[in-house]
């Protein structure tokens, strides 16, 4: 690439920064060593899951809902069963435990999603049957012969429509179409200081609304797995998973099979970007192998990858900043809506990650956020590169530009002015360390020929932080807005359960039972924060809640 105005190098390593914090005399670390696997990759020799060949391999294709929401009155498989090459047809009844939520492995959330749906579908593309046939083409032909008697139901696709009273309910266990956090609130809260008081003191209050689009991970290798019976009652599974033991654990759970009977092989994957965590294909392929005694492949085509495979979820953010004339941001509040689609998958967790990230890399003395995980009748969302952060960073940094414009400050100087520094208290109540935002801003300004003031040039992540900036707010305003009842403490716990290894998969997953619906509207915010009596664990890998 060429044609640059500045003739700058395409990459440089600015070793002069933080040199006193590094030992650069290492033998192997820091060297541009060629990858161990690169020759195989560039010559097409590296074995991916679909390069493993099996005699008598069977192919699995799913029958999918054409509706955003529908009741399944009846599935007539008789014509499909008579199609040439059809070996077996799977329905939800064939799945030993046909309900799961991905994060149950972290003891987080309530099982909500069937492997193969039985009586109801909640998004276009949801599977209701799986054909196992001797070739992919024959499986496709048989899929076309399955007759489903659908009763279309009202659906909702927009996050803010979905949380209005009277909106179609996507999942009965979440009647207000919102995930329940800690068994207590219908959103995740962040409260730090008093944003409302600060907005009243601010010279400018700047508001914005931002919409992040849903995006496909688009790996070249589509998601899939091949399972084959091994000896001794075991099954081998060759998989494109990004998370070997995660997929093994999900399979073990929904198939009610001890993990020791599963042998997962993978590790060389043709791109993931977050789209290969959901563990959709492994259980189906293994179930097929169990019921036919033959190797089975379950693999998405490109259309399924793009429209059935979970995308990066769309996010909608509202940001409000209180800013002083000199550019100091004294308050920032967020309302966020994550579009989880029809099931939880990983969205509830992305929100916790996002909330821990607020208000971005800045030290702001008053911060508040309400972030909702909202169910809609679309393809469930899942992880993607920058999960929980990319969307809100788009919102924050587009908003920062508006702030700079309002106060008439150079956009780079606005960032340096507000940047967090070593020793500053962050909104999640931990001290910042190892900061380097200011230095990144300075380097880019220098490269782009943007003149910074002497004060901005002299700023450093390593000085002028801490002290006053390390103090927690004198008081923090809390409230019980969005309080719910009827969900068990934490929703995740079962008192007295024995700790089990994370992927010692034979364990019974802790099952929370949502017993009732949501509480009446929120109570008024109390002026004084209630005393804390020890925070509640939001999840546990060991299967029980700890204090």
């Amino acid at each position: 690439m060429s044609g640059t105005l500045t003739d700058q190098p395409m990459i440089d390593f600015r070793k002069e920064f933080f040199a006193d914090e590094r030992d650069d005399n290492l033998n192997e670390v820091g060297k541009p060593t060629r990858r161990q696997d690169i020759t195989g990759h560039v010559t097409g020799r590296s074995p991916f899951y679909d390069d493993h060949l099996f005699e008598g391999l069977l192919h699995i294709r799913c029958v999918r809902s054409p509706h955003h929401a529908a009741r399944v009155r009846r599935i007539d498989l008789s014509a499909a069963e008579r199609m040439p090459g059809v070996v077996r047809i799977l329905t939800g009844k064939d799945v030993p435990r046909n309900l799961n939520t991905l994060l149950s492995l972290l003891d987080f959330g309530i099982d909500d999603e069937p492997v193969i749906s039985t009586d109801r579908v909640r998004y276009r593309g949801e599977p209701v049957a799986a054909i196992i046939a001797t070739s992919e083409a024959r499986a496709r032909d048989a899929v076309a012969k399955v007759v489903v008697d659908w009763e279309p139901l009202p659906h909702v696709l927009d996050v803010e429509e979905a949380i209005k009273p009277g909106a179609p309910v996507v999942l009965d266990i979440y009647p207000s179409n919102k995930f329940i956090y800690h068994g207590k609130y219908d959103h995740q809260k962040l409260r730090y200081g008093d944003v409302e008081a600060a907005f009243r003191q601010a010279d400018h209050v700047i508001e914005g609304r931002y919409q992040m689009s849903p995006i496909e991970q688009a790996p070249i290798e589509t998601c899939g797995a091949i399972a084959t019976p091994e000896q001794n009652g075991r099954y081998a599974c060759y998989s494109a998973t990004q998370a070997l033991f995660f997929s093994l654990a999900v399979s073990s759970k929904v198939l009610e099979m001890p993990s020791s009977r599963l042998h997962f092989i993978g590790g060389t994957v043709g791109g993931g970007f977050g789209g290969k965590v959901d563990s959709i294909h492994e259980p189906l392929a293994i179930l097929g192998a169990m019921l036919t005694g033959r190797p089975c492949k379950c693999m998405w085509d490109r259309e399924e990858e793009m429209q059935v495979g979970a995308p990066r979820g769309a996010e909608r953010w509202y940001i409000k900043d209180g800013v002083m004339r000199d550019g100091r941001i004294i308050a920032r509040s967020f309302t966020g809506y994550f579009d989880s689609g029809a099931y939880t998958r990983l969205s509830s967790y992305a929100i916790i990650k996002g909330v821990g990230h607020l208000p971005g890399p800045y030290t702001i003395p008053n911060v508040s956020a309400n972030v909702y995980c909202v169910y809609t009748n679309r393809t469930p969302a899942t992880a993607m590169r920058g999960f929980g952060i990319t969307g809100v960073d788009f919102a924050i940094e587009a908003h920062m530009d508006k702030v700079a414009d309002t106060v008439g400050l150079n956009p780079i100087e606005l960032r340096i002015l507000n940047a967090y520094r070593d020793g500053d208290m962050k909104a999640h109540r931990r001290l910042a360390k190892n900061c380097a935002l200011i230095e990144c801003c300075q380097v880019v300004a220098e490269k782009a020929g943007v003149k910074l003031s002497p004060a901005m040039l002299a700023a450093s992540s390593r000085k002028d932080g801490g002290g006053e900036r390390a103090r927690l707010p004198i008081s923090t305003v809390t409230d019980e807005h969005g309080l719910v009842r009827g969900f068990q403490g934490g929703s995740y716990g079962r008192k007295g359960a024995k700790p089990a290894p994370l992927s010692g998969i034979s364990q019974t997953m802790p099952l929370a039972t949502p017993t009732a619906s949501q509480s009446p509207p929120p109570a008024a915010a109390p002026q004084q924060p209630p005393p804390r009596v020890g925070s509640m664990r939001f999840s546990s890998i060991s299967g029980f809640r700890r204090r």
């Binding site: 044609g3 820091g30 995660f246 590790g267 994957v269 952060i389 909104a427 939001f538």
Partner: protein, 340 residues
């Protein structure tokens, strides 16, 4: 009808290592009969270089050349438990597990060498080129291969090491959001230049200048690969990609790469990258994880540059010609800002 140039800026940080912790990674290392080492993992190499970076970390810690280390992943029968390759946790979590395993294996290797050299193991050092010698006396040395073979075939020792890394799960307060979410943060700043065609609404990214702070560039080539590819993805997120072009409606959803638009080679902007390294205290050799954060600053930088060029704020991604033209119409034509 004109082309308008604009510049937009954004700065970000990114949490490294799976949020809140509670996600173990394990590694096993053993010496082979020829004195080389196999690292057994269940981590996934998605193309990001997991095998390579763990190989370099193992070699560095063992004190042997990188060519003496082979990384085997992922087989659940031989590789110990790992949560997976996501959440910028691979290098951070697995790197630390590999260091722990390599230290244990190295200690046995040095004990074996000490027995052969008839010295105290604490007096031995490795030169990173396949030799173990007495500190300050390079002449009194033994190769790592000879030491490993002596251990296995003469002394009856197994040169092996076990490693695990686990940050305990953090609580999250329902009322305040108090938590210990992350291990460390990576950082980035980005300035992009765009050209906006006020007749067609097309936005072209013409140049990107960035600074990324990655803790330590464990392998500078792999870091560059991530940053270059990730910035491309950010540009693609900003102005091209979506599975639902009329979100929240599901109509016109793309089903293949003819309809799912992404920038091709001709659309790539020159990207001038600067890498800064401020080691993280709990990162493997200070390393953070460049893989996820590299796309993030590009999205806002592009919309900010469009505003700089023509005065139109695009608050809904992606930036499409349709949105730009509608914005220009509402504004009564381009109003260049030129603030940067």
């Amino acid at each position: 009808m004109a082309l308008h140039r604009g510049r937009g800026f954004a700065a970000i940080n990114y949490p490294i290592g799976m949020n809140l912790g509670g996600d173990p990674s394990q590694a096993l290392i053993h010496s082979n009969p020829d004195g080389k080492f196999t690292v057994a993992l269940s981590a996934i190499d998605l193309g990001q270089g997991m095998k390579s970076v763990t190989r370099q970390i193992a070699a560095e810690t063992l004190g042997v050349p990188v060519t003496d280390v082979y990384v085997d992943t992922a087989d659940s029968d031989t590789g110990p438990h790992d949560m997976g390759s996501f959440a910028s946790r691979g290098t951070h979590r697995m790197g630390n597990a590999v260091i722990m395993a390599a230290k244990e294996a190295r200690a046995v290797m040095l004990e074996a060498a000490a027995e052969e050299l008839e010295v105290d193991a604490t007096d031995l050092v490795t030169d990173g080129r396949g030799n173990i010698h007495v500190r300050g006396a390079p002449g009194r040395s033994i190769t790592t291969m000879a030491a490993a073979q002596a251990a296995q075939f003469k002394q009856g020792r197994t040169i092996a090491g076990r490693g695990i890394f686990l940050i305990p799960l953090s609580e999250v307060d329902p009322d305040t959001g108090e938590m210990t979410p992350v291990s460390t943060f990576a950082h980035a700043a980005m300035l992009v230049e765009v050209e906006v065609d006020d007749e067609t609404g097309e936005v072209t990214v013409t140049d990107m200048k960035s600074a990324y702070e990655v803790g330590r560039a464990l392998n500078p080539r792999l870091v560059e690969q991530q940053l270059r590819g990730g910035a491309w993805m950010g540009m693609s997120h900003a102005a091209w990609e979506t599975t639902e072009p009329y979100y929240p409606a599901r109509d016109h959803g793309p089903v293949d790469f003819n309809t799912y638009l992404m920038p091709g080679p001709g659309d790539l902007a020159p990207h001038h990258i600067s890498v800064l390294e401020r080691p993280a205290e709990d990162g493997p050799y200070g390393g953070k994880g460049p893989g996820e954060m590299c796309a993030n600053p590009v999205l806002p930088a592009v919309v900010n540059a469009v505003y700089d060029a023509v005065g139109v704020r695009i608050d809904e991604l992606p930036v499409t010609p349709e949105k730009v033209l509608r914005g220009l119409r509402a504004l009564g034509g381009a109003k260049p800002r030129r603030r940067l």
